[in-house]
């Protein structure tokens, strides 16, 4: 019948991706964008309307831009999500005043109320075909016959019952944006503009007494694609220069992923996480510059190479050598680390190696003194080392609350070879005649 029609299989995932991309794009109108099923978007535009010259203008702008992107979209603005939903799908859309809510809703079929099919069918059986038919009905018999769901939906559509939408993204504590008449592409322009936007964020941060810990730069490309770049700081930040320098490293690192295309037309800077801005002076003499320089360095490196790149070691109370220290990212450790904490950690009485292997490496030990002496020679990585001096054993038992039952206790030795190299080796198990113990090297000394 329609020879030119092109039939394609439905691709639900691709549709979802497309819908999310459109939702990303809609971020330009309001930060509160929610997905509505598989074919709709809900935008909470409370407080955003005046930026676009009124509700009519806003709706026209959205529809026009989406139309030019090639989407046939219907939209409605009303004071309840339920009514907007109904007006888009069953009505004519457009802007609906609070006074005309009932008139708009009345001629729509009952399934415009977002009720399930079974309820629609039973309503139809009773001759209740339009929403307007429900208005004069007494509420109590309706609730008895159809449950509370129907009345809830009716109230939600009329705005008598508050309905919250769940936005896709966390709402930024603060955000500032800049719309551009002429799209920009160059990295230095983006950074310069980021600095300007950060300057406009500053009063907001100051009045709240906070500084940002995680910033997000949202770049809206002219063809509708949206890029998000997040950058963290080890200390709460307010200074525009330092904020934009965070992004300079991130942009360097994300250079390949960031395709400027024909340019970006809208830039937004969000403060995703914030912290109390320390206004206290640390000491009397210092100007705090060395601390700032270190925090700045940590931020720059973390922005470029990832937060895990720079780490501090923290000591833990454990006898097992590999558990006695953990690495924590310098971003989070930063200022929290105090000298006093280290005194709490367990300090072994005997010497510990300077470098520790992640996995103890097996060695062949020769002529070990039975039952619990050090070997005379050992072979590690195909090189035989002759032992001239040895200290030990130091027995370390496995931690029964962590280690499996089979874990054996270790006898550690400090050995010095004739060449002057010092090793930390251990024997796992005992010379009991049944199974041979295994020898491993766990670290090297200076």
């Amino acid at each position: 019948m329609f020879p030119k029609i092109d039939v394609m299989d439905e691709d639900g995932e691709a549709d979802q991706v497309l819908l999310e991309a459109i939702a990303d794009w809609c971020d330009r109108y309001t930060p509160l964008v929610a997905l509505d099923g598989r074919e709709g978007l809900l935008l909470d535009i409370t407080g955003c309307v005046h930026l676009f010259g009124g509700e009519e203008a806003l709706l026209r702008d959205i529809l026009k831009r989406l139309f030019h992107m090639g989407f046939d979209v219907k939209g409605a603005i009303s004071s309840s999500p339920g009514l907007s939903w109904a007006a888009c799908r069953f009505g004519r859309g457009g802007v609906i005043d609070d006074e005309t809510m009932k008139e708009v809703l009345a001629p729509l079929p009952v399934n415009a109320l977002r009720i399930d099919d079974a309820m629609t069918v039973s309503l139809h059986k009773l001759g209740l075909k339009r929403v307007g038919d429900l208005f004069p009905m007494p509420r109590a018999p309706l609730a008895r016959r159809f449950g509370t769901q129907l009345l809830l939906r009716l109230d939600q559509a009329l705005g008598a019952n508050e309905e919250a939408i769940s936005p896709r993204r966390p709402i930024a504590a603060l955000s500032a944006e800049r719309r551009l008449a002429e799209p920009i592409q160059a990295e230095e322009h983006i950074l310069q503009l980021t600095g300007q936007i950060a300057t406009s964020l500053r009063p907001g941060l100051e009045s709240r007494g906070i500084g940002g810990r995680v910033f997000e730069l949202v770049l809206f490309r002219i063809d509708g694609r949206v890029f998000r770049i997040a950058a963290g700081a080890s200390q709460p930040l307010r200074d525009p220069e330092r904020i934009s320098s965070l992004f300079s490293e991130r942009l360097n690192a994300a250079h390949d992923d960031l395709d400027a295309g024909f340019g970006f037309e809208l830039l937004r800077l969000n403060v995703l996480q914030h912290d109390t801005f320390g206004t206290a002076q640390g000491d009397f003499i210092g100007d705090g510059e060395s601390e700032i320089a270190l925090a700045d360095f940590v931020d720059r490196v973390s922005a470029r190479l990832g937060a895990d790149c720079l780490q501090f070691a923290e000591l833990r109370q454990s006898h097992m050598p590999e558990r006695a220290r953990v690495f924590v990212p310098a971003m989070t450790a930063g200022s929290a680390q105090k000298k006093g904490d280290e005194d709490l950690a367990f300090a072994p009485r005997s010497d510990r190696p300077l470098r520790l292997f992640h996995h103890p490496e097996p060695i062949d030990a020769f002529a070990a003194t039975v039952p619990d002496g050090p070997p005379q020679r050992f072979r590690w990585r195909r090189i035989v080392h002759r032992v001239v001096r040895a200290e030990g054993p130091e027995r370390i038992s496995p931690e029964w609350w962590i280690d499996p039952k089979e874990a054996e206790e270790r006898d550690y030795f400090r050995l010095e070879s004739d060449a002057g190299r010092r090793f930390w080796i251990f024997r796992e198990g005992h010379y009991d005649g049944k199974t041979a113990p295994s020898w491993r090297v766990h670290g090297i000394f200076a």
């Binding site: 060395s290 010497d351 510990r352 190696p353 300077l354 520790l356 001096r389 002057g420």
Partner: protein, 312 residues
């Protein structure tokens, strides 16, 4: 005659330019300075106040022109990966010594190499604490690529926020030659913070380092008993066998240096002097030879070495 004078003038100008680039005193002014020094030694000392890290050991400080430079690159290399313990021990001892001499809270940055970490293990905070560096005094980084490591070291030195930066590399990588080391050296010079280059299993190579040490392991001293005698058979303070390969002095200086972790002090362990020449390794080095990497062994240079070539 006049032509000769012009040539000399050009030569002097070039020498001055080179001296300025290298940050050395201008040769033409050196004589005048010496005359000044004879007249007023105190003023000369304050004027010539280049920041240095003295070891407190007279012959060593003399060989180092007063100590390790604060504003430059110092290279520490080892012959074999097996000697990683001694080499990293000496670098970390230097860092701990530096921290002991300074009052600043700034940490030391350790830029590790991923393969060295697998070969010789990661720096161990518990052991380092006994070695003289508290956990909050050292910051670790393990970038995956050499380019990242170089960028990190350069940023660290330039930021001036760290009391020292240690860059660990293995062998003589192709991407780290004279140009890169000069770049790092200039950064260090501008910021006035030292950079230690720790090169495991590396060969001598042209670099911008002021000094280069070759570290070999040495037998540790015994544990000292309260009455001053040594406890037999015990393993006490670590000792490094160091050779100052590159310095202003042409003759390499070889000596044994002991590190006292508790006092954070270096001391000379045994007699100073050339022990075994590093230029003539023993005939049978035994099983300790490293596996050959992606290149052949270099033929030894004949005659006095004027400048090292690229080893990579």
């Amino acid at each position: 005659m006049a032509e000769n004078a012009t040539a000399r003038e050009t030569l002097f100008a070039l020498r001055e330019q080179i001296a300025r680039m290298e940050g050395k005193p201008l040769p033409g002014l050196a004589a005048a300075k010496q005359a000044d020094a004879a007249a007023d030694p105190e003023a000369q000392k304050s004027r010539n106040n280049q920041p240095r890290l003295p070891f407190g050991i007279a012959p060593l400080d003399a060989a180092l022109d007063g100590g390790l430079p604060f504003d430059g690159l110092t290279e520490i290399r080892s012959m074999l990966m097996l000697d990683a313990g001694a080499a990293s021990g000496f670098v970390l001892a230097l860092a701990a010594y530096l921290k002991a001499m300074e009052t600043s809270e700034a940490p030391v940055l350790w830029v590790g190499d991923v393969v060295s970490r697998q070969e010789a293990g990661a720096p161990y905070a518990v052991g380092l604490r006994q070695f003289g560096l508290d956990p909050h005094e050292i910051l670790y980084a393990s970038p995956r690529r050499l380019d990242d490591a170089l960028w990190l070291a350069e940023t660290a030195v330039a930021s001036g926020a760290l009391s020292a930066t240690i860059l660990e590399i293995r062998g003589n990588p192709r991407h780290f030659g004279l140009t890169e080391s000069r770049r790092l050296g200039l950064r260090a010079k501008a910021a006035g913070r030292p950079l230690f280059l720790l090169r495991h299993a590396g060969e001598e190579e042209a670099s911008s380092a002021f000094f280069r040490f070759l570290v070999k392991p040495a037998r540790a001293s015994g544990r000292r008993l309260p009455d001053g005698s040594m406890l037999g058979g015990s393993i006490g303070h670590p000792v490094f066998q160091l050779t100052l390969e590159k310095s202003r002095n042409p003759a390499p200086l070889s000596f044994f240096l002991e590190w006292n972790p508790r006092g954070r002090q270096f001391s000379l362990d045994r007699e100073t002097g050339e022990t075994s020449s590093f230029r003539n390794p023993s005939t049978h080095p035994g099983a300790g030879l490293p596996a050959s990497a992606d290149r052949q062994d270099r033929s030894p240079v004949l005659g006095p070495v004027v400048a090292n070539e690229r080893a990579s």
